[in-house]
Symmetry: C5
C-alpha cells in the first residue's frame, strides 16, 4: 500500500506524485524520487521492480519478508533490510523495513509494524542542504530513525533488569525473578538479532570500501554506526548481567534453602529432645523412684525446659534460628 511518494531535486521537493507519474522524473539530472510503501503484496513490488529495474533476488526477499538485517549491493544499487522493534501490549513486536536505494530512487517498504517514518520525510525536507547528498541521505535518515527507536527499547530492558535486581536478594522472590530474567533474556535476544547484523552491515557503509552511492554520506553512516555500537554495548552488558543475576539468584535459593534446613534441624532437635525425655518418664518400669518424688514432675518439666532453652540458645548463637 502506498504511503506517499515525491520527487526531489537538489534537496528540495519538486512535487508529490501519484505512482504513475514516477517514470517522468527518473531521468532528470540531480533528481530522485522517494516512495514509501507498507505491507506491499507481490504485485505492487513487481510494478516497482520494473520501474526502478530492481534485482529480482532483492524483490523476492522483500516480498517474503522475515529477512535478517543486511545490506546488499546489486551493481550500483543497494538493498537494505532493517528490523523495527516496537513495544506493544507488554511485549516486543518485530517488524521490518526494506529499502531499495539507487541513483534516482529510494523505495522503502515497511512490513508488520505500526512504526512509521513520516517524521523522517519532514526532517529531510527541512534540511535541503543535507538532502542534496541524494538518496544516500534518505537512507541515512531512515536508518537513524530506526536506530533511534531502539534506544527506548534498550532503556526499557535496562530498567526491567534494574527492577529485578532490586528483588534479587529479597527472600521469597526467587521464582518470580528467574521467570522475569528468562523473559528479559528472550527479549534481549530479539533486540540483539536486530542490532548485531545491522552493526556489521553498517561497517560496509563507511570507512574502507564504501559503495559509491554512499560516498557523500559516509560521516553520517559512521554516526549511526556509532549510536548502534552504543546500543550493542548496552545489550552485551545487560546480557552478561542477566547471566550473573541468574547465578546470583540460584545462590540465593541455595542460601535460603540452607537457612530453612538449619531452622528445621534446630527445631527438630529441640522437640526431639523434649519428646525423648517425656518418653523415658512415660516408661512403665516399676522401679522408677523419681516418679514418686513430690517434686518429680515439676523437676522433670524444669529439666525439659532447661534442655530445650539451652538448645534454643545454642542454635540462636550459631545463627541457625
Amino acid at each position: 500500500m502506498l504511503i506517499n511518494c515525491a520527487a526531489y531535486r537538489e534537496g528540495h521537493k519538486v512535487a508529490d506524485l501519484a505512482p504513475e507519474e514516477l517514470g517522468a522524473y527518473l531521468d532528470q539530472p540531480d533528481t530522485f524520487v522517494w516512495v514509501a510503501l507498507r505491507d506491499s503484496d507481490a504485485a505492487e513490488l513487481e510494478s516497482y521492480r520494473r520501474l526502478f529495474n530492481l534485482h529480482s533476488l532483492a524483490v523476492e526477499d522483500a516480498s517474503h519478508g522475515h529477512q535478517r538485517p543486511k545490506v546488499e549491493e546489486y551493481g550500483d544499487d543497494l538493498f537494505v533490510v532493517m528490523h523495527l522493534i516496537d513495544w506493544v501490549g507488554g511485549e516486543l513486536q518485530l517488524g521490518e523495513v526494506m529499502v531499495f536505494v539507487g541513483r534516482n530512487h529510494v523505495l522503502s517498504v515497511r512490513k508488520g509494524s505500526k512504526l512509521h517514518f513520516l517524521g523522517v520525510r519532514e526532517r529531510c525536507e527541512r534540511e535541503p542542504e543535507l538532502l542534496r547528498q541524494g538518496p544516500s541521505f534518505v537512507l541515512y535518515a531512515l536508518m537513524d530513525a530506526v536506530v533511534d527507536r531502539y534506544f527506548p527499547i534498550v532503556d526499557l530492558l535496562e530498567s526491567e533488569l534494574e527492577e529485578i535486581e532490586q528483588s534479587i536478594f529479597t527472600s521469597g522472590a526467587a521464582r518470580d525473578n528467574i521467570q522475569r530474567l528468562y523473559a528479559l533474556k528472550r527479549r534481549l535476544m530479539l533486540l540483539r538479532r536486530a542490532v548485531a547484523p545491522m552493526l556489521e552491515m553498517l561497517s560496509k557503509l563507511h570507512g574502507g570500501r564504501t559503495p559509491p552511492i554512499c560516498a557523500r554520506s559516509e560521516d553520517y553512516f559512521r554516526d549511526v554506526a556509532d549510536h548502534l555500537a552504543r546500543i550493542h554495548g548496552a545489550i552485551e552488558s545487560v546480557r552478561e548481567t542477566i547471566g550473573t543475576a541468574i547465578q546470583a539468584n540460584l545462590s540465593m535459593v541455595a542460601i535460603e534453602d540452607s537457612d530453612v534446613t538449619k531452622r528445621l534441624a534446630a527445631w527438630a532437635g529441640i522437640f526431639a529432645a523434649a519428646t525423648a525425655f517425656a518418653g523415658i518418664w512415660g516408661m512403665n518400669f516399676e522401679g522408677m523412684p523419681e516418679l514418686k518424688w513430690q517434686w518429680g514432675y515439676p523437676a522433670a518439666l524444669g529439666l525439659i525446659t532447661t534442655v530445650c532453652v539451652g538448645l534454643w540458645y545454642r542454635f540462636k548463637r550459631a545463627g541457625w534460628l
Copy 2:
C-alpha cells in the same frame, strides 16, 4: 545409481542422455551436462572420474562420505560437500550431497538421505535465462534447495524449544524438561555442524576472490549465504536460550526443593509440638495434678490444638505452607 542425466546448451535442455552418451557433449561450446547420482559405489564414481577428469582426492572423499561441508578448488573445478538433514521418525537424519562442478559438467552425488532434488532440475529448466549462467547456477540451485530444507528443521527446533519453555516454570516438569533440552541441544549441534562450515564455505563463493567458474552467479551465492546466515543466527539464538533454560530449570528445581523443605519443616514442627505435649502428659509421675482435673483432658486437647493452629498460621503467613 543414476537418477537422471541431461545436456544443456545456453540454458535449454538439449537431450536426456544415457551415461555412455555423455562424452559427445563435453566439448561442445556453451554446453554442459548435469548428472545426478545416488549412493554410488567406487566403481561408478571411478567411471565419472575418468570422464570428467576429476581429481582423485575429491573422488576419494566422495566415495568415503562422512565429509564436513566444504568447497575445494582443484584447478578450475570445484568440489562441494553439503549436509542434508531430514526429519525421519522423530529424529534428525544426516545425509550428504557432493557436487563436482566444472566448465562443462555438474555431477551431484547424494548419500544416505531420501531428500531428492528433482524440483531443482525442474525449476532450472523453467528459467533458461538464469540457467544460461552455466554450471555455477546449477550449483546455486542445489545449494538453495539444501538450505531451504534447513528452514523447517530450524522451525521445528524453535517450536520444540518454545514448547519446553512453556513448562519450564511448571512444577514437577523438571526431569522431563532437562531431558528434552538435552535432546534438543544434541539435535541443534547436528544442524550446526551442517550450517557453520557451509557458511564459511559460501564466503569463498562471493565477494573477494571468487573461483572464476562462479563469477557470473556471485549475487546468487550471496543470497544463499544470507539465508544461511539467518539460519545460523537462529541456531545461535536457540543454543544460547537452551543454556539459559537449563540454568532456569536448575533454579526451578532448587526453588521447588526449597519449598518442599519448608513444608516439611513446617509440618514436622507442628506434629513434633503435638507429640511433645502428649508425651509430657503421658509421663507416669505421681504428682501431676492436671491429670486429675475434671477439664484437664479437654484443656490439654485445646492447648495442643491452639499451639498447632498457631504454628500453622505462623508458617502460613511466612509462606512456608
Copy 3:
C-alpha cells in the same frame, strides 16, 4: 561554562584569552588555542562550532552527551569522547569529556563529573618542548590524565575483590558475599564500558594509518594505549575471578548445607533411637517381665545411653558431627 582559555605558540603560552579574543589567534602560524568548557549548553557549543568550523554531527553528539568512548575523524579534525569515572559516596559516578582537536584548536567539554583537568594544563605548560607537538600533545595529555584516573578505580575494585575473597570460605558469609560480588560485577562492567572502546579507539591513533594531526605524538598515544591495556587486563582478570568466586561461593553454600543436613540426620537418628526404645517400654502389655526387674529401669536407661553414645561416636567418626 568556560573554565579557561589560552593561546599557545611553539609550546609556550602566549596569552590567557576571553572567548571573544579567540578568533584573532586562529590564523597565526604555529599557534593554537586551548579552550576548556564544562557542562555547556547547546548555545555555547554552537558559538564554538561556528568559530572552529566543527562538524555538526560531532557538536550534536557533544550536546546530547551519553556517548560511548570513540574517536571520529571529520576531515583533518578529530572528535574524541572519553568516560570519566569517579568514586563518589561509595558508588562509581560516570561523566564524560569530549575533545575537539583541529590544526589550530583544542576544545574540551566536560560533562557530569567533578574531575577537572587543571593539572594537565599546568603540566603541559611546564614542558614546552613537548607541547610544541601541538594540539595532539594536548589530546595526549588529556587522555593520559583520564587513564591515570582509572588506575585508582581498578585498585579499588581489586581490593574489594580481595576483601570478599577472604570471607568466601568463611561459613555464614555467603549471602553477603554474593551480594557484594554482584555489586562489584556491576561496577566492573561500568568501568569496562569506559575502557574497552577507548582501547579500540586508541589503536587508531598509533601504528598503521594514523590521522595526520596525531603523527607527531604517536609514541605518546601508544604509551597511553599501553597503560589502558594494563587496566583492561586487570579488568578481565577481576571479571574472570568474580565468575570463579560466584561458583566457589555457591559450592560453599552447598557444602555447608550438606554439613547441616548431616548434623540434622545424626541428631535426629540419636533422638529417634532414644524415643523408640522409650516408646517400647511405655507400651501397656501385661507380660513385660523386664518392667518388674529390680534393675530394669537403670538397665533401660543404660541401654538407651549406650545406644545414643554409640551412634554419636559413630557419627563423630564419620565426620557428620
Copy 4:
C-alpha cells in the same frame, strides 16, 4: 635408532641405504633420501644435523621432545612436529613424530610411541607418480597417516560420550557419570592439544603463502587440513556436549534429591500424624471417656489408619510418593 633408510629418484626407490651411504645421494638431481629414526639420542641427531645441514634450534627441539605441533621454516627447509596419540591399556598415550624436510631429504624421528609408519613408505612406493612430487609428498603421506590415526580416537571418545549419555537420566548413576565425564574431558583436551595447533600449522602449508618446497603438494595438504578440520569439529562438539551433560547431570542430582526430600517429607508426615494421635491417647488424664468406650480402641485405630491413608493418598496424588 634407525628404522629404515632409502633413496628415491623420480618417485622410484633407487636403493636401501646404510646411514654412511647417504651422503652419495644428496647431490644427485631429482633424488632425495628418506630416513626414519626412532627414539634417537642427541648423538644420532647430531650426525644427521651435519649431514643434512639442519638448523641447530630445530635439532635441539627434536632432541628435547615435548614440543607442541608446529611447522617452522628454516630457510628453504621445514621442521614439522606432530603428536601421535595411541590408545594403550585403556588410556591415551601421547608420542611425537618430528620431520625434517629439505630439497633432498626427509628425516622423520618418532618418540615415545609404538605407532609406526611402515605402511606409509609402502603406500608411497606403490604410487610413484605421486611420490615424484618429492619430499613434500612424503611429508603429506606422514601427516595423512598421523591424522588417520586420530579418527579412531575421536570415535572412541564419541562412543564413550554416547554411553554416558544413556545413563545420564538414570537415577543413581550420577556419581559414576560425573567421574566418567571428567575423565572424558581430560582425554578430549589431550587430543585437542594435538589437533588445534596442527590445524593452525596446516593452514601455512596450503593457500596464501606456501613454503616453496610444498608448492607441488598443496592440494594434498589441503585435503589433510580438511580431515583434521572434521576431527576438530567433532572435538568441539563433544566438548560442548560434555559441558551440557555435566549441567544436565547436576540437574538430575538436584531433581532426585528433591524427589527424596518429598518422599521423606511425605512419610515423615504420615508417621508423625500416627505418633501424635497415639501420643494423645497415651496421656494419663483421668477424664478421657473414649478410653473406656467399648469400641474406643478399634475406633482410634480406624481413625489413625484413615488419617494415614488419607495423607498417603494426598501425597500420592501430589506426586510426592
Copy 5:
C-alpha cells in the same frame, strides 16, 4: 644497582667495564655494551638515559615498574618488559625485567625478583658465533631464560591440579578442593597475565614486519615464541580443567548431600515406624485385648522388628543405605 657491565666485539667480550668507561665503547664499530642493573632508582636510570639516548617515556615506565609485558619501538631502539615469576615460600612472586636494546647497547633492569641472569651472560660468552648477531641475540637469550623459568611454574600448577583431581571424587574433601581450586586459579591467572601479552609481543619480533634490529635473530625469537605458545596452551588447558573440576566438585557435593538425605530419610522412616507402633500400644484404651495376651509383648516386639528389618532391607536394596 649495577650487577655487571661489559663490552663485546664480534661476539667476544672485550672488557669488563665500570659505568664511567662505557661511553668510550659506544661508537666503536661492531661493538656493543651490555649492562645489567637491579632495582635501580630514578637517578641511576636517568644517567643511562643520557648515555644511551633512551626515550623518556620508556625510562619513565622502567622507573615506575608494574608494567605489563610489552615491546615498544622508539625509532630503531626497542624497549621490552617481561614478567619474572618465582615460587617463594609456597606462593608465586611477581617481578619484572625491563630491557633497552639499541644498535650499540643492551641495558637490562631487574625489579622485585631474586631470579638472576648470570647464566645467560655465561652462555652467550660461550657461543661467540651466535653472540655476533649483536644486541638482539642478547635480548633473545634473556627472553629464553625468562621463558625457561615459566616451565617449572607451569609444571607446579599442573601437578597441583593433578593432586586436587585425585581427591575430587573422594567424599568429604569438597571444601578443601574448592579452596585449592580457587587458589590455583588465582595463581594461574597471574602466570597468564605474564604469558599472554608476552606471546602477543613476540609475534612482533618474527615473521611479518620485524624491527630491523631483530632481523638477524628472527629464527631465535620464533623459537622462544614457540616455547611460550606451549606454556600458553598448558595454561589454557589447566584453566579449562579447573572450570570443569569446580563443576564436578559442585556435583559431588550435591550427590553426597543427596546420599545423606536418603540415609536420613531411611533411618527416620525406620525409627518413626517403630515409634508409631510403640505409641499405639502405649495408648490407655481399656479394650485392647492384645495387651493381655500371654505372647502379646514378644509378638509386638517381633512385629516391630519385622517392620523395621523389612524397611531396612527395602531401603538397602534401593541403594539408600
